[in-house]
């Protein structure tokens, strides 16, 4: 059956399975991705079906995981690497930034690095330190990387397919607190382009732009605003590098107001880039400054404080109100 209702994590699992079936060069690598199927079960059953040669439990060393994935890519493989949690990508940061991102350019295009780095990210699951972070800006700033994040099961399935097919390194951020949310996946649909945003809800008074876990919050905020008679458009950006500025511009030229929402700290976050560029593009259209709702300039707090730290419905609505008050 082509259309199934799947939790987001299962959609990713199906997508990986499809990739392993379709292309013998695709490999899955990471800590505990084998028998255990990953701590979130995203790779569940894959080692059993495709063997230890293709679904590879690695030593506990993230730099080694990404570094050897680069070598495998040079040999013609297409490794899909799993980083267990957002906060554990940093030991691999050097390999990602100085090697993975730059090798294609260094070789004047003569080699390609089709490596996908999957990172479950974001908070809201009551976890301990380093398990709830949103470091996407630290990758999007780096040329040579593409950075994306699906918000729902269908995108999870298709965007991962597209990331694996891409000849560029893709940092694939998975909204871990949405892993269990179910959504329809049509495995025979024709997916949208990987780096294009999508209008998820139409509106005329204000645009909310978000990606990954915050899209759901924005949709809820838009519904709540509707009840107060405010028509809010919701854009699912899907890609943080490149950013689909054209889509945001189109929306803002209509609504004249923009609020960007992400879990990552606001300071130097993706909202800054969007605010700066959209203000430049839409200077005469904007009725209010672009507002940003996101994390504070503080380490991700202990679980009992995360509700206050994370942008939730109220904070988004507060920003909507502030924007509309201009």
């Amino acid at each position: 059956m082509a259309v199934q209702k799947l939790p987001l994590a299962k959609a990713l699992n199906e997508s990986l399975r499809k990739a392993l079936e379709t292309d013998p060069k695709v490999l899955i690598m990471g800590e505990d991705v084998g028998k255990l199927g990953g701590v979130f079960r995203v790779t569940d059953g894959l080692q059993k079906d495709f063997g230890e040669d293709r679904v590879i439990d690695t030593p506990l060393a993230e730099s080694g995981i990404v570094g050897t994935a680069i070598g495998l890519a040079l040999r013609g493989y297409r490794p899909v690497v799993e980083i267990q949690f957002d906060g554990f990508v940093f030991p691999a940061y050097d390999q990602i930034v100085t090697q993975l991102a730059k090798m294609h350019a260094r070789a004047l295009g003569k080699i390609k690095l089709p490596v996908v780095v999957r990172i479950p990210y974001g908070g809201g699951i009551g976890a301990v330190e380093h398990h709830s972070e949103s470091p996407e800006a630290l990758f999007a700033h780096v040329a040579g990387l593409k950075v994306v994040s699906p918000s729902n099961s269908s995108d999870a399935y298709w965007m991962l397919q597209q990331a694996i097919q891409s000849d560029d390194p893709v940092i694939f951020f998975e909204p871990k607190r949405r892993y269990w949310d179910k959504g329809e996946v049509d495995t025979e649909a024709i997916p949208g382009e990987l780096h294009k945003a999508r209008v998820t809800r139409q509106g005329t008074d204000l645009t909310l732009a978000a990606y990954g876990p915050m899209v759901k919050v924005c949709l809820e905020a838009a519904a709540a605003a509707q009840e107060e008679g405010k028509s809010v458009e919701v854009l699912d950006l899907r890609s943080m590098s490149p950013i689909d500025f054209d889509a945001i511009q189109t929306s803002v030229e209509k609504t004249r107001r923009l609020v960007v929402v992400h879990e990552a700290p606001v300071f130097y976050g993706s909202g800054a880039e969007i605010a700066a560029r959209i203000t430049e593009r839409c200077f005469y259209h904007l009725e209010a400054p672009v507002l940003r709702v996101g994390g504070y300039h503080a380490p991700y707090p202990p679980a009992r404080l995360e509700e206050e730290y994370l942008p939730g419905l109220d904070r988004v609505l507060d920003a909507v109100d502030r924007s509309l008050a201009y």
């Binding site: 505990d32 030593p59 506990l60 030991p91 504070y296 503080a298 009992r304 730290y309």
Partner: protein, 391 residues
């Protein structure tokens, strides 16, 4: 069957992944594996070792036993509290009591400890209030104790990082001309991290007074030690120019003797030592983990026969070092500890919301001040307007 031969079998059984046949090409002669240091057999027989011995009074032996029992009691209470929803997560040390109490009791007060997230037994030896360990697992903080009160650093979650902190701290000890030592705990999985290798390099080059204490509990979540190394981990040290030794990690006496010797070596200015405590993670990796997905029950059962607590108990009884009254009293003490911890956790308050903005910097930061003020105003707006319903 010795611990050692189990490991050897296991290596053969599990090794896989490489397409070509791996011949046994590592020259075994060069660094022939010395025996596992053991002073107490799984049956509780006291045995001798030429390089390591220890002479403990009955009092001291009972003390070690008490430490292990109370640690295990605390640990199982924490597991229960997690199931009851009082903790978000718990990382049990079940099975590793001897490694932790043995090494922990080898320390002097002025020594400094850098733990992973599982050293509840070492924390106990250092005098850290067990309740304090639970804060981070409950989600009220990321580490609830002052590391300098008991010379016990905060738990570190990013695997391997703390081995470098320990090395730097030890470099500082040497600079101060002090004769304290430092101990860094890490796991078999952690041995693969570049940071751990770098800590070996730095400590060797600067001859830092640090003991690297690796609890090889044979699993890194779902991965057996063969995914990290194809030779015993203690051998790693030699290539960095300092000694490595493998000790029976379920033998509290051997762990105490070997760690003490390594610490003394550090104090004498002879630099680092790697101790590999060969032990077993009897429970799940954490309460989030399901080991039935990846390991056979028989393995665990085999290790139950080597339980560190039963082993010492057998010896205490055989040697007449403890009587029924001692065990009974300890039972009562255990229950009291469990109760105290349970109550303390339940009484543990949630942190104030404003704590988000505290201690981000020591000297302040304009943006934090600004965000704190905005947050306070925003919170106040709910109080004012009764907007709570909108939530």
């Amino acid at each position: 069957m010795t611990v050692e031969s189990t490991a050897a079998r296991k290596t053969t059984r599990r090794s896989s992944g490489a397409k070509r046949t791996a011949s046994a090409s590592v020259k075994k002669g060069q660094g022939a594996e010395p025996e596992l240091v053991q002073l107490l057999t799984p049956e509780g027989e006291r045995v001798q070792h030429p390089d390591y011995d220890i002479d403990l009074s009955a009092d001291e032996l009972r003390g070690l036993y008490r430490d292990m029992v109370l640690t295990r009691r605390f640990d199982s209470e924490a597991t229960a509290l997690q199931r009851q929803g009082e903790l978000g997560l718990w990382a049990s040390l079940l099975g590793q009591e001897a490694a932790q109490i043995g090494s922990g009791r080898a320390l002097r007060d002025d020594d400094y400890v850098f733990p992973t997230y599982r050293e509840h037994g070492v924390a106990w030896c250092r005098g850290v209030d067990p309740t304090n360990l639970l804060g981070m697992f409950r989600g009220v903080n990321h580490g609830g104790w002052d590391p300098n009160t008991n010379n016990f650093h905060l738990y570190t979650i990013v695997i391997g990082s703390q081995t470098l902190h320990a090395t730097g701290y030890a470099m500082g000890v040497a600079k101060d001309g002090a004769d304290s030592a430092v101990i860094a705990y890490f796991g078999d999985g952690a041995s693969s991290q570049g940071d751990v290798a770098e800590s070996f390099t730095f400590s060797a080059v600067y001859n830092a007074p640090v003991v690297f204490f690796c609890q090889n509990n044979q699993w890194a979540i779902s991965e057996p030690t063969e995914r990290q190394t194809r030779v015993p981990l203690y051998q790693r040290a030699q290539g960095y120019g300092f000694p490595g030794v493998r000790v029976d990690g379920n033998d509290v006496l051997a762990c105490l003797a070997v760690t003490r010797s390594a610490l003394e070596r550090a104090r004498r200015g002879e630099g680092p030592t790697l101790v590999e405590a060969f032990t077993y993670r009897m429970g799940a990796h954490t309460t989030s983990d399901d080991p039935t997905k990846y390991r056979a029950d028989e393995e665990r059962e085999a290790w139950e026969a080597k339980d560190p607590i039963l082993r010492l108990k057998a010896y205490l009884e055989k040697a007449g070092h403890a009587d029924a009254a001692f065990f009974e009293e300890l039972e009562t003490e255990s229950e009291t500890l469990g109760k105290r911890v349970r109550e303390a956790v339940r009484a543990m308050p949630d942190p104030d919301h404003m704590a988000i903005f505290e201690n981000v910097y020591a000297d302040g930061h304009a943006l934090v001040d600004e965000e704190r003020a905005q947050f306070a105003a925003y919170q106040a707006s709910f109080a004012d307007s009764g907007a709570e319903e909108g939530k």
